[in-house]
């Protein structure tokens, strides 16, 4: 039923994948699907802020993130599952929705972390944005 499962992770936050990963792996095994692990590097939404960073900051961070993601996949995902690693930058939820479209995924598995109680109540967490804007099924793991 599912062929491509997209899982966005934040590498520095184990909460973002500790619970979602077993669910995603389980689904991958059940449906013989490929897993696409995505990590998003937030960009500077204000050009003013960006100008304070050195020019090669973004490309350096990109390579670093790539290596880290590689390590993460090696450590946490069994070899028999087909994995694609994706590093992208932009606003997290927009990127998740866009990448899902681009790779033609049919399910997004993501964790919800309700840490910022008040902020989440007012702004809504990332996961809610993804749910609202994507055209495919979304599994929010808690």
């Amino acid at each position: 039923m599912y062929n491509k499962i997209l899982m966005p992770v934040v590498l520095s936050e184990p909460n973002s994948w500790k619970r979602a990963l077993p669910v995603a792996l389980n689904l991958c095994k059940t449906y013989d699907a490929s897993l696409h692990v995505l990590t998003v590097m937030p960009d500077f939404s204000m050009p003013m802020v960006g100008s304070f960073f050195p020019k090669d900051f973004s490309s350096k961070a990109h390579t670093l993130l790539k290596d880290e993601l590689k390590k993460f996949v090696k450590e946490n995902i069994p070899e028999e599952i087909q994995v694609q690693r994706i590093v992208a930058d932009g606003s997290p939820w927009e990127t998740i929705v866009n990448i899902a479209k681009e790779i033609d995924a049919d399910l997004i598995v993501m964790a919800a972390h309700n840490k910022r109680k008040f902020a989440d109540y007012v702004l809504g967490p990332n996961s809610a944005h993804v749910v609202k804007h994507s055209n495919i099924s979304v599994m929010v793991v808690r």
């Binding site: 039923m1 669910v23 059940t30 919800a112 989440d120 809504g124 967490p125 996961s127 809610a128 749910v131 609202k132 994507s134 055209n135 495919i136 099924s137 979304v138 599994m139 929010v140 793991v141 808690r142």
Partner: protein
Amino acid sequence: MGLKILLPVDIQDRDAAVAGLIKVMKYLGEQEVCMHFMSILPGKPVPLLSSYASKEEVQSALSVLKDDLTLLVKQALPQLTGFTVQTAEGVVHKEILKYSRKLQPQLIMLPSHSHSKLENILIGSVTSKVVEQANCSVLVIR
């Protein structure tokens, strides 16, 4: 029993409801599950108005809804044996959350309708409210 799943069904749109149920069953496959179906009678937005509707009227409407839902589930999913049906009256997302707090399911499945973008922005969807505020995993099915 296996996984405890809460599945709210919008009975007003019969075809969509049936299609949603079939999709859900495809997703579940042969897993052992304990399904809890739920349907909600949208409450009157103005409290003053609702005081005109007598309690008995609401009760009878709820029981009709319950029978309707049971029938629908039996028609759409003849192979499913054990399930419970629940009805409630009130604001849709609040009732879903209230019942899920009582039931403590492992998963809430939401067959989502695709309204237009504008509609979603103006009214906001039940789906995103449930996703934001639920205590358990949520699967949005599209």
